[in-house]
């Protein structure tokens, strides 16, 4: 696709016009250039963007010293959140590797792998939880432009968080699935071995060994099911946690493809929703004041007082 860059022509005009303006200011006062130089040196990136020398029209001779000013405080919060998200991402990569390692057949116990996986999962969930809580802090009151920016920053971070939570869930579920398959194979193998040996020994040792084998089988299957239950409990817990996070986030995240995802809809609706919100609040206040709840509560309180008075009277007169 074709484009045309007019920046050079623009700069040429701007410079020539500047030189037309500048000689006029130099004629004003000889001190002028000195003030300009001083003001130029005072400027540094952290200073908020307001023209330092307000009475000096030649400030354009600052040249390229354009400052992008100091952003407001909430930007720090948003940067913290995006930092957390980044850290969670790297930990997820580590988790992936740990999963792969744990799934490889080893002779050892595998306990430290499990431990690592557990701790990594917990850290990631903690990071996600923390980011989600901080995300709520970004909400702002009032219909200013700044609040729109904050809302949009919130949305974009919420989308990233939701994506990460879903990724974590997927990783966990695939890991558990593969683990279960492995255990089943191992368990079946054991069961088969036991079964074949029990068949071999059945003929020789009838009742006692048979019941012993039965007992050991029952114990083994109980142990397996207890382990399974623990794993499932873990799944349920993490599902619950992440479901909670997702529920909170889904209020913020934009549904793609719907009307809310249209730029023109958002521009039009900024003003009107704020007005609507105000009206709703006023209406709610009114209904709350005249509401039945308040009435009920006051009636009950009055009744209580009456009862207490009656009680005291009863005590006095009896």
């Amino acid at each position: 696709m074709a484009t045309r860059n007019r920046t050079l022509l623009f700069r040429k005009y701007r410079n020539s016009l500047r030189s037309v303006r500048a000689p006029m200011t130099e004629a004003k006062s000889g001190v002028g250039p000195v003030i300009e130089m001083a003001s130029a040196s005072l400027l540094h990136p952290k200073r908020s963007y307001a023209p330092v020398s307000t009475e000096d029209p030649g400030s354009s001779s600052r040249g390229g010293a354009i400052t992008v000013g100091l952003p407001p405080d909430w930007v720090d919060v948003s940067e913290e959140i995006s930092g957390n998200i980044q850290r969670a991402r790297t930990k997820m990569a580590e988790l992936g590797k740990a999963h792969a390692k744990a799934l490889m057949p080893t002779f050892g116990d595998g306990k430290e792998d499990q431990h690592q996986i557990e701790s990594l999962t917990q850290e990631i969930t903690f990071l996600l939880r923390k980011s989600e809580k901080q995300l709520q802090k970004l909400s702002a009151a009032g219909p200013s432009e700044d609040s729109n920016v904050r809302k949009n920053v919130q949305r974009s971070l919420a989308t990233d968080l939701q994506f990460l939570s879903m990724e974590l869930r997927k990783k966990q579920s695939t890991y558990l699935k593969r683990l279960r398959l492995q255990k089943e194979d191992g368990g079946d193998l054991e069961m088969n071995l036991n079964g074949s040996s029990s068949r071999a020994e059945d003929d020789d040792f009838d009742d006692i060994l048979f019941s012993e084998h039965q007992m050991s089988k029952i114990k083994k299957s109980e142990a397996i099911s207890v382990e399974r239950e623990k794993e499932i409990q873990q799944v349920v817990e993490s599902v619950n946690e992440l479901a909670q996070i997702m529920k909170d986030l889904s209020a913020l995240v934009i549904d793609q493809g719907t009307i809310v995802d249209r730029i023109d809809y958002n521009i039009q609706n900024v003003a009107s929703t704020v007005e609507d919100g105000l009206k709703q609040l006023q209406k709610a206040e009114r209904t709350q004041r005249s509401g039945g709840m308040v009435m009920c509560a006051s009636v009950l309180v009055i009744l209580c007082f009456i009862m207490i008075v009656l009680l005291i009277l009863k005590e006095i007169f009896l």
Binding site: M1, A2, T3, R4, N5, R6, T7, L9, F10, R11, Y13, R14, S48, Y49, A50, P57, S60, R62, G63, I66, T67, V68, G69, L70, P71, P72, V75, E145, D146, V149, N152, S156, T159, M166, R169, K170, S173, K177, V226, R228, E229, I232, Q233, V235, V236, V239, N240, S250, I254, D255, Q256, G257, T258, I259, V260, R262, I263, D264, Y265, I267
Partner: protein, 608 residues
């Protein structure tokens, strides 16, 4: 390359090189250009955290210097003035200016003059000056569309502005495609001729350097035609999804405003899930719409039913999982040994039935589920509302007669049918008007007595009918004014073709009409577009067949024609067609333009 992709590429390029938090500033026209191809969530990914209009941005004095401003506006004099004021008191840290069309040197001068703080980092021209609704269909969304019907003397400055906007739009399309075309126009239309000549002047003389692209084997073709050559298509009622929605409810920038049809039913459970009163119908974002937008109403109904069934399956299984999940969760509150065993048993049983995995899958798939739910409710609502309108206005009956008028012969029978419908109480005024217009266009010269009778009957039945509107239409688009063979009764080949079609019978009475555009496209494909009817501009010449053709219809296109183009493109004939117009018409809009033109020409003739 499709038009939607070009506009998206332009926007991507605008945003990708600028780091940090940005604010995007648009004007009332570019907001349509951008919104139709780019979504809010994609903007957020590119760190654009605020979108504003150029009018409202100067209202506040809040300094937001941590944001970088990206302007994407049309290079009109009003926008340049507004920019002047905003550059003189800059609110943002940096300013990056992108214009959707060619800038004049004077405008650059004005901007440079006002940029005293030197906040402008770049000034570029990115030619996304059209609204690309579908890959091969664009529009310019012009407001005063009726001007093309009036002679130049009535409103010369208005017509000049109209023509300039069209030329800008066409130039932008070709710059986005990086092509310079050979230009042909419809001889009988003055407006088309004027636009074609001005476009040629721009591309070959004024900005010949900019348009000097690599020559391909055969030059592409730009064909500028006039709406009045085919006044039948916008008047017909439509039965394919996209066209029908636009005809009955109204589709603007791929959005449907459901508030237009009055109150929505609150009793249906699926419908009440529709939170907002506007919905989006975009082939790029909605897979169901993409596969159904050109299907007729009956097939859509079946496909929607299938979609609802699938969705209800998913919803049912989710319902089960939710109850099981809450049961398990509630059991875990107790921690005595018996309950633990009970939980163990329940959990094992559940696992046997695969419920816990379903539970996990439910949480994973929740966003998809929500999206599916929204989509289903949107389509169900639309189809329900349209069915209701069809029922209320007796459109099946009306449309059958319309299609007969447009496609088949028999003046006597047609007269009877139209008179019956005029007498029918449940037929609405606009439908009566359309029927009489179609009859008049078809049987203009046959039996003037009966035609007069129809006019009188229409005037007596419809109190709001503007007198002489049908006659005005005949004056604009009557048989003498038309070039193409609209009813297939001019040359022998077409008559023979029609007879063959009549003998064979049609699949669907309601969609038998083919717009005139179809014949035009066929002629181009065969290389037999007559020079007499569609002359070349200047000394252009086309060798062989073009491989890319842009057809621009002055006065507006319809979704029926865009469907025709899309179907033609899918046949892989070796030629790619793109259709564009000054607006996208439905019958209401076409009639509005007619009325407006009639009103102006009447007042003009009084003055003269």
């Amino acid at each position: 390359m499709a038009l939607v992709t070009s506009v998206r590429d332009y926007i991507n390029r605008m945003l990708q090189d600028i780091s940090g938090m940005k604010v995007l500033i648009l004007d009332s026209e570019t907001v349509s250009n951008v919104s139709i191809v780019y979504s809010q969530s994609e903007l957020l990914q590119k760190e654009v955290f605020l979108v504003e209009m150029i009018d409202s941005i100067s209202a506040s004095n809040e300094s937001m210097s941590h944001l970088k401003a990206v302007y994407f506006v049309r290079p009109t004099s009003e926008n340049v003035q507004k920019l002047r004021h905003q550059l003189a008191n800059p609110r943002f840290g940096e300013y990056h200016l992108f214009f959707s069309n060619l800038l004049k040197d004077t405008q650059i001068h004005i901007l440079a003059d006002s940029d005293e703080q030197e906040v402008v980092q770049q000034v570029q021209e990115f030619y996304a000056d059209f609204v690309a609704g579908d890959p091969y269909h664009f529009t310019l969304n012009m407001a005063a569309n009726h001007l093309y019907m009036l002679p130049a003397v009535v409103d010369p400055s208005g017509l000049q502005r109209y023509s300039d906007r069209v030329v800008d739009g066409i130039a932008a399309v070709f710059l986005a495609l990086k092509r310079r075309p050979v230009i042909r126009y419809q001889r009988t239309s003055d407006t088309a001729k004027r636009i074609a000549q001005e476009t040629a002047k721009l591309m070959y003389q004024q900005e010949s350097g900019l348009f000097d692209f690599r020559r391909t084997e055969s030059s592409p073709l730009l064909l500028v035609i006039d709406r009045r050559d085919d006044p039948v298509t916008p008047l017909l009622n439509q039965w394919t999804y996209q066209a029908m929605v636009h005809e009955l409810i109204g589709l603007q920038d791929n959005k449907v405003d459901l508030r237009a049809i009055g109150s929505l039913p609150k009793d249906q459970q699926v419908v009440s899930l529709l939170q907002y009163r506007e919905v989006v119908l975009s082939s790029e974002q909605d897979a169901f719409f993409k596969s159904n937008m050109y299907e007729n109403f009956g097939d859509i109904g079946m496909n929607i039913k299938r979609m609802v069934d699938d969705f209800q399956q998913v919803a049912k299984s989710n319902q089960n999982i939710q109850t099981v999940g809450t049961n398990i969760a509630s059991l875990k509150l107790y921690s005595c040994k018996d309950v633990q065993l009970l939980v163990l048993v329940t959990v094992i049983i559940c696992e046997c039935f695969g419920f816990t995995e379903d539970m996990a899958r439910f949480v994973d798939n929740y966003p998809e589920y929500k999206k599916m739910q929204g989509n289903v409710s949107k389509h169900v609502t639309l189809v329900t509302e349209m069915s209701k309108l069809v029922e209320a206005r007796k459109l099946m009956l009306v449309s059958q007669t319309e299609q007969d008028l447009a496609c088949n012969g028999g003046q006597g029978a047609a007269y009877e049918a139209v008179t019956d419908l005029l007498n029918n109480e449940s037929v609405s005024d606009i439908d009566r008007l359309r029927l009489v217009m179609l009859y008049a266009l078809r049987y203009e010269k046959e039996n003037p007595v009966q035609l007069m009778q129809l006019f009188n009957k229409l005037a007596s039945r419809s109190p709001k009918y503007k007198q002489g509107l049908v006659q005005f239409l005949l004056k604009q688009a009557g048989v003498e004014k038309r070039t193409g063979d609209l009813f297939g009764n001019r040359d022998l080949l077409n008559i023979a073709r029609n007879m063959a079609r009549g003998l064979k019978g049609v699949e669907n009475v309601y969609t038998q009409h083919q717009p005139l555009l179809f014949q035009t496209m066929e002629s181009i494909t065969r290389g037999r577009l007559r020079d007499v009817d569609y002359p070349f501009v200047g000394d252009h010449f086309q060798q062989g067949r073009p491989q890319e053709v842009v057809i621009f219809m002055v006065g507006g296109t319809t979704y029926e024609e865009s469907r025709c183009v899309a179907l033609q493109n899918s046949t892989n004939s070796g030629i790619r067609f793109i259709l564009g117009g000054t607006a996208v018409l439905n019958s209401k809009r076409f009639l509005m333009d007619l009325e407006e033109a009639q009103r102006i020409s009447r007042s003009g003739s009084h003055m003269v």
